[in-house]
Symmetry: C2
Subunit: 256 residues, 2 copies
């Protein structure tokens, strides 16, 4: 049964999409059957691996509103072992449209049931908010991977995110765990990076991945070519960092 | 009558709060009576100038729900000429709580009427979304300042933001204009920065400010001391960039 990991943090621009796209690509590269689900209306994860996509007919929007099953919107990405359930701008309207639907928080969880056996990992990229789309991802997930940018504002939002996770655990998904906390855009030359990293480690202890993702321009440039960094620049620091992270994530899985 | 400028872009982490806090501080420093309104539940703008705040009793949350007038929650910040209407975590619930309130999009606009004559500039920091809180800011505003990070994903979201601005112009605020488009985290050493900047300029032409905000660690470090950069490190590139931006914004105002 595929392990479902939501990549979430309501603070904007902390590296959620960059992590979802590149972790998925590295997991697939290691031989895991991997599905990337883009539940952010910005659809950045969709364009981050768009270069190889063959079919963009449906999207997660149709799935959440019950107009199509998840397997109908899944497309291959040109990366062996990596499939994508794309997002669409129309997803922005889903939060309002679903506000009166019964069981609206569990839509993604239900839709996943049929495809889960087909994958080893299912990675869900979330928007920068704690609204209904993120709640759907947290309700469907086994665990949450939390990217934390090594800057001050990113620290402040952590307690709010943990509160939301606790609410979902209590009312919607009692088995939800924290998969791990990932330091992103780490720059060892900056005092600020070191200070924030130290605070995150003292707060989360062994939940923090050994791998920190360094600030690296290849990670920012790869999306403009619609490719994960392991295709765009396989020998970059960014590619190395995400390969090592994929190793940590799959080992934790094997040990579980 | 104070000019109300909303700082908005639904893409996360593009420098909305950094711009709202530092532009406000520089406008105040130039002798303009300035009010900074934090309508983002993350409350980053509030903590970005918290060092000098004397009273954090009420927040924008109480104002939007009609429990208090705006002037009751305004606090001074220790920077002469700069006041703040703070945010609180409880604001996250406002979008749901206000969903059945009549005229819910105009709450901020109504609340501003009484304080507008007291200020030359009123700057509103928005969350990374196009939900009810941002719609309130766009409805109350004379114009919108759009920060655009010089990276690929930030480009993608612009057409969606422009669509939302058009909807607000048509249904809620016909006189809303674009105040300007601000390039942020510009790094002249990176091809990516130059490419994105060129695309933004060809799309927005003379709406793009001459001042680009360069990537500068003082801007990221200042919030951990609860100060705008002109107090934290007055001789930094970040402080220079925002002083120049304040000059452009007030000249455009004078010319209007
Ligand atoms: N390690 C890194 N080094 C350099 N740039 C990075 C790194 N990680 C992400 N970026 C860039 O930083 C920006 C923000 O990252 P990204 O879009 O992945 O964050 P996000 O959390 O998904 O944002 P949002 O909150 O809008 O969904 C992007 O332009 C991305 O290319
Ligand atoms: N010019 C700059 N140089 C260096 N760092 C910057 C610059 N502008 C902003 N930052 C840092 O980048 C991060 C994102 O900026 P900021 O929080 O202002 O963006 P935002 O758009 O308000 O994010 P959100 O979408 O979460 O509201 C912050 O840690 C901030 O300190
Ligand atoms: Mg994203
Ligand atoms: Mg902000």
């Amino acid at each position: 049964m595929g392990r479902v990991i939501a990549v979430s943090n309501q603070k904007g621009g902390v590296g959620k999409t960059t992590t979802a796209v590149n972790l998925s690509a590295c997991l697939a590269n290691d031989g895991n059957r991997t599905l990337l689900i883009d539940i952010d209306p910005q659809a950045n994860a969709t364009s981050g691996c768009e270069a190889g996509i063959d079919n963009l007919d449906g999207s997660v929007y149709e799935v959440l509103l019950g107009h199509a099953p998840l397997e109908a919107v899944i497309s291959s990405t040109g990366i062996p072992g990596l499939d994508l359930a794309p997002s669409r701008i129309s997803l922005a309207g889903a939060e309002v449209e679903m506000s009166s639907v019964l069981g609206r928080e569990k839509r993604l969880a239900e839709a996943l049931e049929t495809v889960r056996p087909d994958y080893d990992f299912i990675i869900v990229d979330c928007p920068p908010s704690l609204g209904l789309l993120t709640v759907n991802a947290l309700t469907a997930a086994d665990s949450v991977l939390i990217p934390v940018q090594c800057e001050y504002y990113a620290l402040e939002g952590l307690s709010k995110l943990l509160n939301s996770i606790q609410l979902v655990q209590r009312y919607l998904n009692p088995t939800l765990e924290i998969e791990g906390v990932l330091l992103t855009m780490y720059d060892e030359r900056l005092q600020l990076s070191k200070r924030v990293a130290a605070e995150v480690k003292s707060y989360f202890n062994d939940k923090v991945y050994e791998t920190a993702i360094k600030r690296n321009v290849s990670l920012a440039a790869a999306p403009s070519f619609g490719q994960p960094v392991i295709l765009y620049e396989p020998r970059s620091t960014g590619a190395d960092n995400y390969r090592r992270l994929a190793g940590e994530v799959s080992h934790a899985r094997a040990a579980a």
